[in-house]
């Protein structure tokens, strides 16, 4: 089976001169279809940087990334935007919800970039929010939601456009035990029922059992 995402000899350097730091140093990785890969590592190990490079949110200093067979480095701005909006979902540690939009609008906004009419978008957004038990929160704004609810909205947003792969960066870091379990179950369910590939970056050892495969990263290098 062809990998959904491949990263070859990825290096990402921040800073210049004496302050030059390689956050990711010569990492090669691949993610196959329908698998949940856990990227495990302590804080500052480079997992967020690696995730961002694989998710097309950050250009590598060297090396290259292929997503669904496309060489990301060769894509200009517009096709890269299209790739993000059509094929990639991202769940951020800090939720990154748009504060001025309601829950359903936060979910639907990703579908509105190509100029799709709002009517069908709203129905689908509400439907997805209802599926994860947020039917009563569709008109609420991020400031009116709990941390767990925000992350669930962010999760639905990441799935809204039916991506081929979803990246989740410490999605449970700011959540209590119940909400952590809910989010992890949702991710597992997404892999099992929606044929989605998921890469989840975390430092929480308890999450390891939810994954199909675990990659360990330390000081910017894969160790296992």
């Amino acid at each position: 089976m062809r990998p959904v995402v491949e990263g070859h000899n990825l290096v990402r350097v921040f800073g210049r001169g004496d302050k030059r730091v390689a956050a990711v140093d010569d990492v090669s990785v691949h993610v196959d279809g329908d698998e949940l890969v856990i990227l495990m590592g302590p804080s500052g190990s480079g997992k967020t940087t690696l995730l961002a490079m694989l998710g097309c949110l950050l250009r590598p200093s060297s090396g290259h990334v292929r997503v669904l067979g496309k060489d990301v480095g060769s894509l200009s701005s517009r096709p890269l935007s299209r790739l993000r909006s059509e094929s990639i979902g991202f769940v951020f540690q800090g939720f990154n919800l748009l504060s001025a939009l309601s829950a359903w609008e936060n979910v639907a906004v990703v579908g509105s970039f190509p100029g799709v009419r709002l009517g069908p978008l709203r129905s689908r957004a509400v439907e997805l929010l209802e599926e994860i038990g947020l039917g009563h929160r569709v008109e609420h704004y991020p400031a009116e939601l709990s941390a767990g609810e925000k992350q669930r909205v962010a999760f639905v947003r990441a799935l809204f456009h039916r991506p081929g792969i979803l990246f989740a960066d410490e999605p449970t870091a700011n959540l209590d035990t119940d909400n952590r379990r809910i989010i992890l179950n949702l991710l597992r369910q997404a892999v099992d029922e929606r044929n989605l590939s998921v890469v989840l970056a975390t430092h929480d050892e308890r999450i390891e059992r939810f994954g199909d495969r675990v990659l360990r990263i330390e000081d910017g290098r894969l160790v296992a």
Binding site: A52, L58, S81, R82, N96, L98, S99, L101, S112, H161
Partner: protein
């Protein structure tokens, strides 16, 4: 019975919207023109053309909507405060103009009134009365008409209202991200608007003062609109003393190309009011023809209907001068050793450090020795099609005379009187323009930076550079529009205060000033949205989060 009700409805419609509302709107507009908006003029041909276009398109929109309502809706719109006068519509109309907005007849009517306001050159009607009517219409429709329609048509109307906007034809099939971002933090939004309006005020007020002062210097020359000014040789501005023989008027009138000519006495003197002295230009004009007299009258005594009615012991004087000295109609003022009755107030007759007082030329002939045989200036209006240069040369064939075109004479006078004042004010304009523009730019830029992380999120989700630029541009334009509206309103108030309360100063806000300010604002919008968008496009989304 049905026919009677339709006729009654038509009569009410015609009386109310064909006569009462337009009459009241224009009346109120004119009142504002003469008071709050006295410094603002709408006399540009482009505004006239715009006015005609709006009147025609508003009327057509109104007529098309009415026709569709009667034909397809099988009824009439005469339902006032939920009381059905004419038989009301039986069927919901949702096509044609009604597919663009829910109340096209109201919109068409307001656009028509706006057009009329521009055509008649009434800023008060266009800028204040029509927006006020829009607000009233909105409240009326929300409180009375829409609930009635919902009651009549039920769910069909509710679905229609969900799909089609009420008045402004804005698309409803997109998330209104720009508006949400702006209103998401009301305090920040208000602060932004205050900043933008003050910047607009700063720019437009400085330009208003400069333009007002500049035109103040030559207000008499500009408004009498004489094509050629004739003085004694060696005199080339309105300040120096001149004496031209009376026969010059007839001589000039005989010159080919000259339509008419008239002599005036313009004397700079001290006017005594309530034992206080003020510097004034006393202009004695030919009251029979009115040439050289004041061009705009304010309040007058009941018997004074125009500048021709001035009697021997009466004067017309500048309204600001009167206001400063608490003079009222019928009060007495003294100059040339004589006492005169204030018969009326003149408008736009204030120059730098002095004001104009007008009296009948025949009186001047009697009270000032020597004036019976001469004028200080002769004004000439040339015939249509005549060549100005040729006429001037022919007048100057009399070697004792100096003839100048209006623009030359105005420029000389401006050069003399404005030599100190205008460069200072021009400096103020440049500073105001720079500071105001930078303030607009910084205000918009910082409001964008505050949500920079969110724009990075949008980029991470696949928003293109064009989408982000469009979003930022819409936000900035909405802010600028509201800020400019508030800024111009403040500027009008400030101008009004200056014109009424500050002696010797005039502020003049015209369409050109407004356009210059808006252009500066738009340039700042392009810059302040272009820079962050450029950064966003260059940065990877991950880097945008960290900014």
């Amino acid at each position: 019975m049905r026919v009677l009700r339709i006729a009654l409805g038509a009569c009410i419609d015609l009386a109310l919207f064909g006569l009462v509302v337009p009459w009241a709107a224009i009346k109120a507009g004119r009142l504002l023109d003469g008071t709050l908006l006295s410094g603002l003029r709408f006399d540009h041909p482009a505004l006239d053309a715009c006015g005609f276009a709006l009147t025609a398109s508003g009327g057509a929109w109104l007529a098309a909507s009415w026709f569709l309502l009667v034909r397809q809706g099988r009824g009439h719109a005469t339902e006032l405060f939920c009381v059905e006068v004419a038989p009301v519509t039986e069927q919901l109309v949702a096509r044609g103009p009604f597919a663009v907005h829910r109340h096209p007849m109201c919109v068409g009517y307001l656009v028509l009134l706006l057009g009329i306001g521009l055509v008649i050159g009434s800023p008060g009607t266009a800028l204040m009365v029509v927006p006020a009517l829009l607000l009233l219409t909105y409240v009326y429709l929300r409180v009375f008409e829409e609930p009635c329609l919902e009651k009549r048509f039920g769910a069909a109307y509710r679905h229609y209202a969900e799909r089609v906007p009420m008045l402004l034809p804005l698309r409803r099939d997109r998330i209104p991200m720009a508006r949400r971002n702006l209103l998401g933090d009301p305090v920040r939004f208000v602060v932004n608007i205050v900043g933008l309006s003050l910047a607009v005020l700063l720019i437009s007020f400085q330009i208003s003062i400069y333009k007002g002062t500049r035109s103040q210097i030559t207000t008499y020359i500009d408004h009498t609109a004489a094509d050629v000014w004739i003085m004694q040789k060696g005199v080339d501005d309105f300040i120096a003393t001149s004496s031209v023989p009376r026969e010059t008027v007839r001589e000039v009138e005989r010159i080919q190309g000259v339509g008419k000519a008239s002599g005036i006495h313009a004397v700079y003197t001290l006017l005594e009011i309530n034992k206080e002295k003020s510097r004034v230009y006393v202009v004695a004009y030919d009251a029979r023809s009115g040439r050289g007299g004041p061009w705009k009258l304010g309040d007058t005594l009941p018997r004074i209907h125009g500048i021709h009615d001035l009697e021997a012991d009466q004067v017309l004087l500048d309204r600001n001068l009167a206001g400063r000295h608490h003079l009222e109609l019928g009060d007495r003022v003294s100059f040339f050793g004589r006492s005169f009755t204030v018969a009326g107030f003149t408008l736009e007759t204030m120059s730098i450090g002095s004001q104009y007082v007008f009296l009948n030329r025949e009186v001047m002939d009697r009270i000032v020795p020597g004036s019976r045989h001469s004028f200080t200036h002769v004004l000439a209006w040339i015939e249509k099609g005549a060549d100005m240069g040729t006429v001037v040369r022919r007048i100057e064939e009399n070697r004792a005379l100096n003839a100048l075109t209006r623009s030359e004479f105005a420029a000389n006078t401006r050069g003399f009187l404005g030599v100190f004042m205008l460069p200072l004010l021009a400096g103020g304009v440049i500073m105001g323009f720079l500071v105001g523009s930078v303030t607009i730019g910084i205000t918009l830029y910082t409001s964008i930076l505050e949500r920079f992380k969110e724009y990075g999120t949008l980029k991470a989700m696949g928003a293109t550079g064009l989408y982000l630029y469009g979003l930022l541009l819409r936000q900035s334009l909405i802010s600028l529009l509201i800020g400019a509206f508030a800024g111009f309103a403040l500027s009008l108030l400030a101008n009004h205060f200056i014109n009424l309360r500050v002696p010797g100063m005039t502020a003049e806000l015209d369409a050109g000033t407004a356009a210059q300010t808006v252009i500066a604002g738009l340039a700042m919008v392009v810059l302040s949205t272009g820079l962050p968008t450029w950064r966003l496009i260059r940065l990877d989304p991950m880097e945008a989060f960290r900014t």
